[in-house]
């Protein structure tokens, strides 16, 4: 790669040809402020519309200031990033953005984590001069089961638009109108629930302000915990334990499984369980379904649909219901682990505890916003009583812990309760892309071949590349596996399958980049790929440390089938653990 050198703030710097001034400055420790700019290195996605003008710098010989995020370095360029002219321009730009922005920061859900607020602090803004026509807009609030849109707080950075269109290929959002009236919205300004939105929530994860936030259920959970007539049980998803610590200042990748269980008990949950138990259950059902389809396929049964697609990810389910209505019989019918847990808790567990389902409240802690939509689907209710009452995000759990005066970092480790708290290493890796299919392989291999696996780690299935493929030898039968994370990658695989290009037996798909560890309910990573990598490693560390690492060896799963469900794919299992899909005509 050709190198060029330039001078920034009197210091000489050498960069690769094509680098931007922003990148060059960063290389020598000069941190130019940005707002609309977003760089998701692990996805190879850069949002640099150059629209906000917060990053302007002075380039010698140029009449106008240049936006550092999208100005390419030239050999011999002389750049100054902090002249009076630059500082004044940035301040004016920020004041203009603030001129029609609500000033309710004290009670804004993004307060303390808002990029705009950070800039106002950094620039020392103490007043905002009035600007003609700068009315604070009163755009209607749009509340869906998962996301809240408050377009009064939109600064038109268009990060959400990039992630929704370029990364996820969902195409629910676009910038509309112009001037003070411009916002990001679905087509025809319909509500987000009527748009092709999958509730993956990645727009929330990248929004710099409070314009896009999750629906907050913390107060409902507090009310339930205070109700003496309710037994409140909680389940925590695998990816939560690898990220929750970040909210309390712990290093990314710190595993806080034990502290999390202790904190949940402190919060007053009657039983502290683990979604990982339901992940093991998912493997029993999904794995059996996989083997059933492969078995029939190998015998020449034309009705056996292959490949089988995983169905644990509710945003992915929404995506194929909307975009691939002709392929509704391809995914596994297994419900998401969250819903399997809820279903088992309100039947098997409620019976064991001698309470009615109405007396039990099931709360789930998820790295995910689509799970909020998942748990309110009509299919997952019995007489209008949902299997899972409230789904809260990792961030919401952190907020609950902070509100309850718990010093999280100094909590001693505790264990989950039984019987729905026992899990294997196979369940833990559900939290990372490739994990579900690896867990399925560990079980399906042994059930298919009747032999013990000689190795448990399938490194060929791991990694952070968007689309991955591998073939696993099932004792002479090669099982072809595909993995995609990020819905844009999923679309590529699905289009290939529709066109008959692939011969996969099984495919794992996760809507969020990185899998659940990169979920929209996780602590904000601000595009730092090191955070995602650290969580990824933490998940596999937890797996390696587990005494049992195959789902079918979980003794409490065996017991559940013996006492209650019969066998995988039994009628009862179908009724409680499987679902059906609906065509959603939303394009």
């Amino acid at each position: 790669m050709e190198k060029i050198s330039l001078i920034i703030d009197n210091a000489s710097v050498e960069v690769e040809k094509g680098a931007t001034i922003l990148q060059a400055a960063k290389q020598i420790g000069i941190n130019i402020p940005t707002l609309c700019y977003m760089n998701l290195e692990h996805l190879n996605i850069e949002n640099k519309p150059g629209g906000c003008r917060i990053c302007v710098v002075e380039v010698e010989g140029r009449r106008n200031l240049a936006p550092a995020c999208c100005t390419t370095c030239m050999s011999g360029m002389v750049v100054r990033t902090n002249t009076l002219r630059v500082l004044n321009a940035r301040k004016t730009v920020l004041e203009l953005i603030l001129s029609d922005h609500p000033k309710d920061c004290l009670i804004c859900p993004k307060s303390g984590r808002c990029d705009l607020q950070d800039l106002a602090v950094r620039f020392g803004i103490r007043e905002v001069h009035s600007v003609e026509n700068a009315e604070i807009s009163t755009y209607r609030k749009d509340a869906s089961p998962s996301l809240l849109r408050d377009m009064d707080k939109c600064v038109m950075c268009r990060r959400c638009e990039s992630i929704c269109n370029d990364v996820q290929s969902v195409g629910a959002l676009s910038a509309i109108n112009r001037g003070f009236h411009s916002v990001v919205a679905p087509a025809f300004e319909q509500d987000i629930i009527d748009s092709p939105c999958t509730f993956c929530g990645q727009c929330v994860a990248v929004c710099p302000t409070g314009a896009l936030t999750e629906v907050d259920h913390t107060s409902k959970v507090i009310l339930a915990l205070g109700d003496p007539n309710k037994t409140v049980v909680v389940q925590t998803a695998p990816a939560v334990r690898a990220a929750l610590g970040e909210e309390f200042g712990l290093e990314p990748g710190t595993l806080v499984t034990g502290k999390m269980a202790a904190a949940l008990r402190h919060l007053g949950f009657d039983k502290v369980f683990d979604t990982d138990f339901a992940a093991d259950l998912t493997i029993m059902e999904e794995g059996t379904e996989l083997l059933d389809r492969i078995g029939r396929f190998l015998k020449g049964d034309k009705t056996a649909k292959l490949p089988i697609l995983t169905s644990c990810c509710p945003a992915w389910v929404n995506f194929f219901e909307t975009n691939y209505p002709d392929m509704l019989d391809v995914p596994s019918t297994a419900r998401s682990p969250q819903q399997m847990f809820g279903s088992v808790a309100k039947t098997y567990l409620a019976d064991k505890m001698g309470i009615k389902r109405e007396e039990m409240v099931v709360v789930s802690v998820m790295p995910c916003l689509a799970k909020k939509y998942d748990c309110q689907r009509d299919e997952f209710k019995v007489k209008n009583n949902p299997d899972v009452d409230f789904s809260i995000s990792t961030r919401e759990l952190a907020a609950l812990i902070k509100q309850a005066n718990i010093d999280f970092a100094s909590l001693p480790d505790e264990d989950f309760d039984h019987p729905l708290g026992e899990s294997t290493g196979a369940a833990v890796i559900f939290g990372a892309t490739g994990g579900v299919i690896e867990a399925a392989v560990r079980t399906a291999f042994e059930l298919f071949t009747d032999k013990k696996l000689s190795r448990i780690d399938f490194h060929e299935l791991r990694g952070l590349d968007g689309i991955r493929t591998a073939s696993i030898d099932f004792n002479g039968t090669a099982i072809h596996i595909g993995i995609a994370h990020g819905l844009g990658n999923a679309r590529k695989l699905l289009d290939g399958i529709r066109a008959g290009m692939y011969n996969f037996h099984a495919i794992e798909i996760m809507a969020c980049p990185g899998g659940c560890i990169g979920g929209a309910g996780q602590p904000l990573h601000h595009g730092n790929s090191k955070v995602i990598e650290a969580r990824f490693e933490a998940i596999y560390r937890e797996d390696a440390a587990k005494p049992i690492r195959k789902s079918h060896e979980n003794p409490y799963i065996t017991k559940l089938y013996e006492e209650f469900l019969g066998k995988p794919m039994s009628e009862k299992a179908h009724h409680l653990l499987h679902t059906h899909y609906f065509e959603k005509n939303k394009i």
């Binding site: 269109n165 969902v170 676009s174 411009s182 087509a187 748009s195």
Partner: protein
């Protein structure tokens, strides 16, 4: 919401327009320009069809339609009236002409008369400043228009 129902022939028109631009997403503005020429406006259903052929999201199409003031989602009258509000026309009384038209037709700028006959819009400079103030009805240009003549001009349209 519009009450436009897309007929098979409309779909063919849209298909042909998109095909004439090789269904190229980058040609969206040109496609919309031609489509509006064919239908007079761009109702929801038409935007959905365009999105389908160009293989882009409906949200993107709607974004472009709402960004450019040239595009409209409300139907025009059979005889669309445009009054030039460029500098020359403005100083020679174009605003009075617009006011008189609004009174006469009982509509606002951007609106359509209840019988669907006339719609009223303002535009910038048609390049006939010597004739200011200028008004267009359909393709016909009227120069040196005065408010008092409007009744007679409108009466010529059946």
């Amino acid at each position: 919401m519009s009450t436009f129902t897309l007929q098979e022939c409309h779909k063919n028109t849209i298909k042909e327009i998109c095909a004439s631009f090789h269904n190229e997403p980058g040609e969206l503005i040109n496609v919309l320009h031609k489509t509006q020429g064919a239908f007079g406006y761009l109702p929801e259903e038409v935007q959905r069809e365009v999105a389908k052929y160009l293989n882009i999201s409906v949200a993107k199409v709607y974004g472009v339609v709402t960004f450019y003031s040239f595009f409209t989602m409300t139907p025009k009258g059979r005889y669309p009236i445009s009054v030039c509000m460029g500098t020359a026309c403005y100083v020679r009384g174009a605003e009075k002409v617009v006011d008189a038209l609004m009174r006469e037709l009982e509509i606002k700028v951007g609106g359509v008369s209840t019988d669907g006959k006339f719609s009223l819009d303002c535009l910038r400079c048609v390049g006939a400043c010597g004739l200011a103030p200028v008004m267009q009805i359909g393709d016909k240009v009227y120069g040196r228009v005065e408010a008092s003549q409007l009744k007679d001009i409108l009466a010529q349209y059946e």
